[in-house]
Symmetry: D2
Subunit: 330 residues, 4 copies
C-alpha cells in the first residue's frame, strides 16, 4: 500500500484529476470466474454521482464506466480489471490559476508538497476520485457475495432526525454555507476469523480506508469514542452457549479479527470546505485574498460519502477474505 495504491492481496490503483480527460482505476488480484459487467458497476456509480438532486453538486457527469480489461465472456479472468470514466462536464474556467487557496482544501498543501498542482477542480484532491473507489467497491462486493455492506447518513449537522435535514440543507445553501454529516457503515455476513495481527487488523485497515476518504475526520468501530467513557462491565459482550453474543459493543471486531457479528463503523464527514461565504485566505503568491467558492459543490459532502464508505468497506473485507484464505486456507 502506498501513494495511490490500496490493499494487500486485492490492490486498487486509482488515477485521474477532476478536470483531466478521464479518471480510472486498476483492480489487481480479483479472483477469476466472477460474473461481471459494466451494468453492475454502473448501478453503484449512479448512486454516488453528482447532478442527481438539489443537495448534491449540479455538475453533470454521466459517469459512464467502461471496463477495459480483466473480463472475458462476462467473467473475471484473474488479470487486472481496468475501469475508466471520461470527464465530460469540466468547467475549468471556474478555477483561475491565481485563485485564493480554499481553506479546508488541499490547494495549499499540494503546492507546499509538490511545488505545483493541477488547480482545475481540485485536481487529484477532488472528491471526484472517489468515483473509482465506488467502481472498484462494486467489484469487491462480488468477491464476497455472502457479505452485505450498507451505509447511511445518520446525522447532518448534528441532527439525527432526518425529517429536519431538508430544511437545514436549504438554510445552509441559502447562507452559502455547508453542513457536516455522520455516516454509519455496516457489514453483515462476515464470518468470524477475517483480519490479522498486528498492523493488518481488520479495524486498523478499515480506519485507514475510511480516513482516506476526502473530508473524513473521525472513524469509530463499535462503541467508538464512547468506549472511552464506559466501564469494562458495560462494554463487555457476554457470550452464550452456541457461541451467540448478547451485545456488540465491539462492533464485530475483537483483537483485529472479525467476531461474526455485524461490523459497525461510524465515519464523520466535515462540512464541505467549498462555500460561498467568504473566508480569509491567501493565494499562491502569499497575498491576502478572500476565498469565495463559486464553482459547483455539494452543500453536504457527507451525503455522497455513504456509497464511498460502502466501497471502502467492501474493498477491505474482500481483501481480508483473500488474505485469510491465503494464510489459513479459507
Amino acid at each position: 500500500m502506498s501513494h495511490n495504491i490500496f490493499g494487500h492481496l486485492l490492490r486498487l490503483a486509482t488515477w485521474g484529476e477532476s478536470h483531466g480527460p478521464a479518471i480510472g482505476c486498476m483492480l489487481d488480484g480479483c479472483p477469476p470466474g466472477i460474473a461481471l459487467d459494466g451494468a453492475h458497476v454502473q448501478q453503484y456509480l449512479d448512486r454516488r454521482r453528482p447532478g442527481t438532486g438539489r443537495n448534491v453538486s449540479p455538475r453533470q457527469e454521466p459517469d459512464q464506466v467502461r471496463i477495459l480489461s480483466g473480463v472475458h465472456d462476462g467473467h473475471t479472468t484473474g488479470t487486472p480489471i481496468a475501469m475508466l470514466i471520461e470527464n465530460v462536464d469540466a468547467r475549468s474556467a471556474d478555477y483561475p490559476a491565481d485563485a485564493a487557496y480554499r481553506p479546508g482544501h488541499a490547494d495549499r498543501t499540494y503546492d507546499e508538497k509538490y511545488g505545483r498542482r493541477d488547480p482545475r477542480g481540485g485536481g487529484r484532491a477532488s472528491a471526484r476520485e472517489t468515483a473509482m473507489r465506488v467502481a472498484a467497491g462494486a467489484v469487491a462486493r462480488l468477491i464476497i457475495p455472502e457479505v452485505r455492506v450498507e451505509a447511511e447518513v445518520i446525522a447532518i449537522g448534528g441532527e439525527e432526525d432526518a425529517g429536519r435535514w431538508d430544511a437545514m440543507l436549504d438554510e445552509a445553501r441559502a447562507d452559502g454555507d455547508s453542513l457536516g454529516a455522520l455516516v454509519e457503515c455496516r457489514a453483515t455476513g462476515v464470518p468470524a476469523g477475517w483480519g490479522a495481527p498486528i498492523y493488518t487488523k481488520l479495524d486498523a485497515d478499515l480506519a485507514g480506508a475510511m480516513m482516506s476518504i476526502p473530508a473524513v475526520k473521525g472513524v469509530e468501530i463499535g462503541e467508538g469514542m464512547n468506549a472511552a467513557r464506559l466501564r469494562g462491565s458495560e462494554n463487555a459482550d457476554p457470550m452464550r452457549e452456541g457461541g451467540r453474543y448478547d451485545s456488540n459493543h465491539a462492533g464485530g471486531i475483537s483483537g483485529g479479527i472479525s467476531t461474526g457479528q455485524p461490523i459497525v463503523t461510524r465515519i464523520a464527514f466535515k462540512p464541505t470546505s467549498s462555500i460561498r461565504k467568504p473566508v480569509a485566505s491567501i493565494n499562491a503568491a502569499g497575498d491576502a485574498k478572500e476565498a469565495v467558492t463559486r464553482g459547483r459543490h455539494d452543500p453536504c459532502v457527507g451525503l455522497r460519502g455513504a456509497p464511498v464508505c460502502e466501497a471502502m468497506m467492501a474493498l477491505v473485507l474482500a481483501d481480508h477474505f483473500l488474505l485469510h484464505r491465503g494464510q489459513c486456507g479459507g
Copy 2:
C-alpha cells in the same frame, strides 16, 4: 504493510507472545549516521512498562532492551535495527488452557481464525507487544529530531478533571471493574508537505496506526467526530498573509498532507477487558463458563496507551518524512 509488518519506507516488524521467551522487533530502513544507544530506547520503555504504579498491572517486567544489530560505534548504519526484550515475570499458571474466553479479548477470534493459539497471557494479542512499538518509536523520533510528539490522557471514564481520576480508578478497582480513557496525541514541528494522496494520506496512516493499538475503538483528527456537527464556515481555518492559520480545526492535515500546524489526534481506549467482575462467557469447547479474570491487569489500559500512541505517531511521521524526501527531494 501486512500482518505484523508496519510502514512504507521505514518498516517495523514485531514478534513475540506475552509469555514466550522474549518479544522483539526489527526496524528496517532507518537512515544511517544517527546516534543511538540502548539507554535512549530504555527511557521510553520505562515510561510504558508495567509494575510502576498502583493503576497499572503489577506484572514485574524490567523490560531491559538489547539492541542486537544495525548500530556500530554508537550510530545507526542503515541496516536493520533489531531489538529484543526477554520476558521475565510470566506466570503462565494464571492461564489454564480450558479457561473461559475473556470477552473483549482476542481469545476466541484467534481460535476461530487460526484453530489454535498460545493462551498464555493473551499470547500475541497481549498488550505486551506494544513494548516493541515504543522501542521502535524511540528510534523513529531520532529520524525527525525537529518534531516533538507528545500524548497525554485527557479523560478517564468520561471525566476530564484529572483531580478525580485517582478516586475513580480506586473505585473501579474495588469493584473489579475498569475504565476507558481518551488520549490526545500531538506532533509539533512537522513542516508542511508530508503525506501523500490517496491511500497514503498522513491522516489515513495515522488512523490505521492508532486503530492497530490494542483496545482502541475510535480515532479523530482535528475536530474529529465533532466535524460532523459543524458548518463549513465554523470549520474553516482562515489563512493570513505570511501563511499563518487562524485556527486548526483540520488538526494539521489537509488533503492528507501536513499543513505545518500541530498535528492533533484523539484516540479512544476502551476499558480493560480483563476484569474480576464475572461476565457470561464460554470456553473453547463451547460450554458456558463465566469469565472472571484473576491475572494481573491494568484497571485502565488507556493509562499505558499514551506512550504507545506517541510511538505510532513518531513511526508514521518518520516514515512520511522519508517518503517525502524520496519522492520530492526533502
Copy 3:
C-alpha cells in the same frame, strides 16, 4: 510489488489484454516538476512497436499513447501518471477458442491457474503488455536524467556477427521457425550507492525485472554465468588511488549496491514460441491437436526485447534513486 504492480517507491501498475479495447498503465510516485509530454513517451514506443520491419510482427498498431493524468502545464505534478494505448489492429478471428495450446506460451498455464482466460492474442500474457513498460520506462528516464540506459541485441541464435543475422532470420522465417537472442543492457552515469541489502539489492531487483519480461530465461550481471568458471584473482576488480577500478567483472554492482561503474546485464530471450512449424500439443479439452501458429508473430522476439530491457532497467534505477534519496538523503 505484487501481481501486476512493480516497484517500491516508483510503482508501475499495468493492465490490458492483447485484443481488448486498450492497454494501459499507471505510474505512481514520480517526482513532481519533470517536463513530460506524450511525444517523449511516443519516441520510445515507436522503437518498440510492431509493423516496422520484416523481422517483427506485421500487426499494424500505431501505438499512440495518451497521457491521461499526472501532468499539468507540461510537467509532472507528483500524482499518478496514467497512460493508455488503444488496441486497433486486433484480429481475433486468428484465435479460435478451441485452438491447440501453443507450446512455450501461457495458454495452458493460465487455464490451469485461473480456470479460464482471454484466448485472443495471448490475452494478458501477450508481449503486447510490454508496450506499457516501455511507456513507463520513458518517464523513468526523466527522473534520472544523468543516467544513460542502452540495450542492444548482441547475438541471435548464438551468432554474434550481426552481418549474418538477416540471412539467419530469413532462413528461420522460411522454415516457419524462430530464433533466440541475447541482449546486453547497460547503464552509465549511475553513481555509487544505489541499491540496498538484502532483498532489495540492485542486482536482485534487476534480475527480477528482466526475468518478468516475456520469453526471458536467463539474466546475468557482469561476468554472469561465467563467474562460476573463474578464480577469485581473475574475477577481482582492483581499485586504484582516486577510486578508479581497473576492471568491471562485477558489472557495476557489489553487495547489491552500485559501484559507480557501468551497470552491465545480459538477458537471454528464448526463440518466439509461436511458430508455423507444427508442434505436438493438446487443446483445452485435453485432446491431441498440433500447434501451428498462423497469427502474426516476430521470428525473433528478442529483437523487440532490447527496448523493454531498457525500460525495466530505467524503472529499477529510478526507483532505487528515490529509495536511496529517501533513506540516505540523496
Copy 4:
C-alpha cells in the same frame, strides 16, 4: 518487499551483522497448525554451517537456533515465527578499521551508500546472514510438504567432473585463491498454476531471490542463457494427450506460472572474493593499500550456496502457494 524484508504473503525479515551479538529473522504469514520445532530447523542449518570441512571457512559457529515466538504446543500458531542464532566465534581483531577495501566485497559500496558501516567480518554484507534464510527456508518447506526442493553443486571452476574438485580446491587454497561454482536447484511436486502475471511471475521472483544471495551473478530457468542459441522448434516442449510434456526446456514455468513439471534453475556463484593473493586496492581514506585477506574464508563460497538456493526456492514456492490459494482458492 523492501530492504531486508522478502516475500508477498509469506514475509521474511532478517537482521544481524557477522560479528554482532546475534543474527535473527522473523517469518510472518506462516499458516497455523504446522508441526515445528527447533530440531527441524537445525538440521538444515547444520548442512550450511561453517567449520564442517576443509573446503569451508574454519570459523567455528555452532549455529544453534532458538525459536522465540509463533510456535505453541509444537505447532505454528499463525503469528510471526522469530528465530535467533547467537554469534559465538567472532574474531573481530581480524578486521582493522583501516583495512583495504576487499575487492568484490561490499566494503566500499556500503561506505559509499551509508557513509559508515560495521567493518567486522563484512557486517551486514557477510554471507553469515544467509543462515537465517536457511532457517526460514526450513519452515517454508513445511508449508508445502508435497514439494521437494534440492540443490547441488554441478560445476566448480567450470569443471563438471566432481572427481576433480578436491584437487582443484586444494590447489586454489594453496595458491591463496578461490573458485566459482555452478549450483542447480530443482523443485519437484509443484502443481501447475502457481505464479502470477506480470511482475510476480514465479520465474521473476525466483530470479530476484537467487540474485539476492551473496556472490550470485547469474540465474537461469530451464534452458537459461542457452535458450538464446536455440530455434523455436528445438525449444518447444510438446504436449501429449493426458497433459504430459515431452521435454522441459521451459524449466517448469511458462508465462510465469508453474507447468507441473520440475522447476529447474541454475545459479552462478562467483569465486570467493576474500583471497590471500594480494589485489590492488584502497582503504577508506582513498590511499592505495593491497587487499590481502587473512580472515577465515571458504575457498569456494558456492559450496555453501546450495542450501541457501534451496531455502530461497522453498520460500518463493511457499509464498506463491499462499498467494495462489488466496486469489484462486487453492
